[in-house]
Symmetry: C2
Subunit: 219 residues, 2 copies
């Protein structure tokens, strides 16, 4: 459960970001485009598949779970116009720029969306977001001991507010469908596993050591 004032604060942000009207627009250059390719398989078969591009790139993203010194987690609240609520709660995330290190993308997006920074970044998992028609390979990071270092730095078209929640509250937000995006949902599953592993360890560096041992890349 979440105490009433906190859920009221969340609901106020959700109200603010709700969609009240939409209209179609026709743009010259679309962010979402697709290309088709013919693929020759090892067994002699030939198949055609389309590939989704985002801004001409694969659309790989970094998701970051920011953990504060007090043990709470930062979430971002933003318009998600295609969802039932038209607004969503989730972890900070963003596209990896061409040639950018996925770790840097995680830290950059964390700073831009919340103004927080972290010196302890641990990779928890990676996955293809839509393996049938996209090359997007997303990474999930846990950022320990996050500290507020600057203001938010949002794009013109971006509306993001942030709130902190503990693990119980995050579970409440999932059960009540405030958190519905797969990036945040899988991140949360990985976070539960990580929290169980490190529950008895206080020191951040010791946690990094434990987590890196468990989540090291296996090949």
């Amino acid at each position: 459960m979440i105490r009433k004032e906190k859920i009221d604060e969340l609901k106020q942000i959700l109200e603010e970001y709700k969609t009240v009207k939409k209209e179609q627009v026709f743009k010259e250059n679309m962010f979402l485009t697709s290309e088709a390719y013919r693929y020759y398989l090892n067994n002699g078969s030939i198949i055609t598949r389309e590939k989704l591009l985002k801004n001409k790139n694969d659309g790989s993203a970094s998701i970051v779970i920011p953990r504060l010194e007090n043990g709470e987690f930062l979430t971002v609240i933003e318009p998600r116009v295609y969802t039932a609520l038209t607004v969503g709660v989730g972890f900070p995330a963003g596209y990896i720029e061409n040639g950018e290190d996925p770790k840097n993308a995680a830290i950059r997006e964390l700073k831009e969306e919340t103004g927080y920074n972290s010196n302890y970044l641990i990779k928890l998992d990676e996955f293809y977001q839509d393996e049938g028609c996209s090359q997007a390979l997303n990474r999930i990071y846990l950022a320990l001991d996050c500290k507020k270092v600057s203001k938010q730095n949002l794009d013109k078209d971006e509306y993001i507010k942030y709130m902190t929640f503990n693990l119980d509250e995050l579970e409440h937000l999932v059960k009540n469908k405030y958190i519905m995006g797969v990036n945040s949902k899988l991140a949360l599953e990985k976070l539960y596993e990580a929290e169980i592993l490190t529950a008895s360890v206080d020191n951040a560096l010791e946690k990094v050591k434990i987590l890196n041992r468990v989540f090291r890349e296996e090949r």
Copy 2:
């Protein structure tokens, strides 16, 4: 771990479906298209967002975890041309047709891809696959006591083989990056939770009751 003959069988299928060459093609009607809309928020702001369409639909999919009477799980192996391996292992899944019940889509895709059927279908979770730019709302189902009832029924361009694995083996496949798609990865997390809940219950109907109690929709 997986015994050697089984991993060899898997590797043989993976070899068969690997991509050896690709070339771009230009099609009249693309499966992947996008539209742009202007959205008016409750707070007076106006934002533009693009929406991904698949065959003019939202691209919502049903994912089904098929559990056999012996406690093993069915997986499908198919070309995944955008991934590192160019082949992927995962659970049966497919797009929900226009107006189709997501449960029916799960059973239909299970039958088409494997020839198995189930009378016990339990919803484990639902999520937006790419909430920033798509309305795709995917559902994860657990299908208990699956039985082989027919042959596979694949589309012209579809290449799918199936193999069964137990929970330990599935974990091995995730750790070794044979299973990398987010649909199957989140499904597996939900499966672990469900298996823990029902480990001591033998009867399928009793399991359905327990699971429905736990995973019932909360609103």
